[in-house]
Symmetry: C2
Subunit: 160 residues, 2 copies
C-alpha cells in the first residue's frame, strides 16, 4: 500500500515532481555533514571548534558546510569576543533552522527503530514542561494518525 | 533557544554522539537520489524505468541506489512477468521503508514553508478517511506540541 495520487496527479505518466519541496530540501541539506552540524546546533552548539568536533567532521568540511548553512539562512553568524582574544563568530539557529526539528526527530526515530539492533535507542526525549515522552507523528487536522495508505496527495490550490 | 541536554549529557565536552541514530539514518539515506527514489515508492512507483524517470536520475544511478535500498531493507525486489516478456523485477516498500514517511513529510513541510517562495506548496496532503489536511508534528505523549526549547534529551535506559 502506498499514498494515493488524486485528481490531476492520478495519471503518473503525465507529470513529474519538478517543483518538489522534498527535492528542494535535500538540495539545501544535501550532505550528511550539514545535517550533523544542524543536530549539534539543536543540542546547543554554537562555536566552530565545538560544532566540528562533535559532528565528527574535519575543520575544512565544517567551514564549508557552515558557510552553506549560513547562506541558506539556517544558521546566523554572529560575532563574539572573549577578553584578550580576537573577534570570533558563532552560529545561531534561525527560525528556518529551528523548523528542521521534525526532520531531525523523524530521522532519529527511524534510526532508533530500525538501525540500533538489540541495544535500542541511545537517547530519550522528553517534554520538559510535563515530563512525558516525545514523538514525531503524521496526523490530520482532526487528530487521526495517518498511515501511508490513507494519505491522499493532490495539486495544491495556488496562493491568491 | 535550543534543546536541553540533561543528566550525563549536560557536560557537552564529556561526550560525542557516537551511536547517533540520526547519523545512522543518514548513512542509509546518504544520497539525494536514494531519497527521491523512496519518494517515488511512496507515490506508488514500483518499476525500474518509472522510478528512475520520475526521480529524475540516470539509470546507472537508479540501479546503484535501488540495490543499496534493497540491501538495507527499505525496498523488496520482487519478480514479475508480463506475457511474452522476460522476467523483470519491481521494488516494493517494506515496513522499514514505509516507516520513513514522517521523514519525507517533514522534509516536504519544511521545503513548502521555506523554499517555495511566493508560489507556495505545490502539493496538498489530506487524510483520505476524513478529508482533513495532514501535518507532521512533534508532540509529547500528553498531546502537547513540543518546541525545541521544551525538548529535553537524556541517555536512554538500556533495554532489559
Amino acid at each position: 500500500m502506498t499514498a494515493v495520487l488524486e485528481g490531476k496527479l492520478a495519471d503518473r505518466d503525465a507529470w513529474t515532481a519538478d517543483r518538489c519541496s522534498i527535492a528542494k530540501a535535500l538540495d539545501v541539506l544535501g550532505t550528511r555533514s550539514s545535517f550533523l552540524l544542524m543536530r549539534e546546533a539543536f543540542y546547543g552548539g554554537r562555536r566552530f571548534d565545538d560544532l566540528a568536533r562533535r559532528a565528527g567532521i574535519t575543520e575544512a568540511s565544517a567551514a564549508a558546510r557552515l558557510k552553506e548553512l549560513t547562506e541558506h539562512g539556517l544558521l546566523e553568524r554572529r560575532p563574539y569576543q572573549e577578553p584578550g582574544q580576537r573577534t570570533r563568530h558563532e552560529y545561531v539557529l534561525t527560525e528556518k533552522g529551528r523548523d528542521l526539528l521534525p526532520v531531525a526527530l523523524a530521522l532519529m526515530a527511524w534510526g532508533d527503530k530500525h538501525l540500533t539492533g538489540s541495544r535500542g535507542a541511545p537517547l530519550a526525549l522528553r517534554h520538559r514542561t510535563c515530563g512525558s515522552g516525545v514523538a514525531v507523528e503524521v496526523r490530520c487536522a482532526e487528530g487521526h494518525p495517518v498511515p501511508l495508505e490513507e494519505l491522499g496527495v493532490r495539486v495544491a490550490q495556488p496562493r491568491r
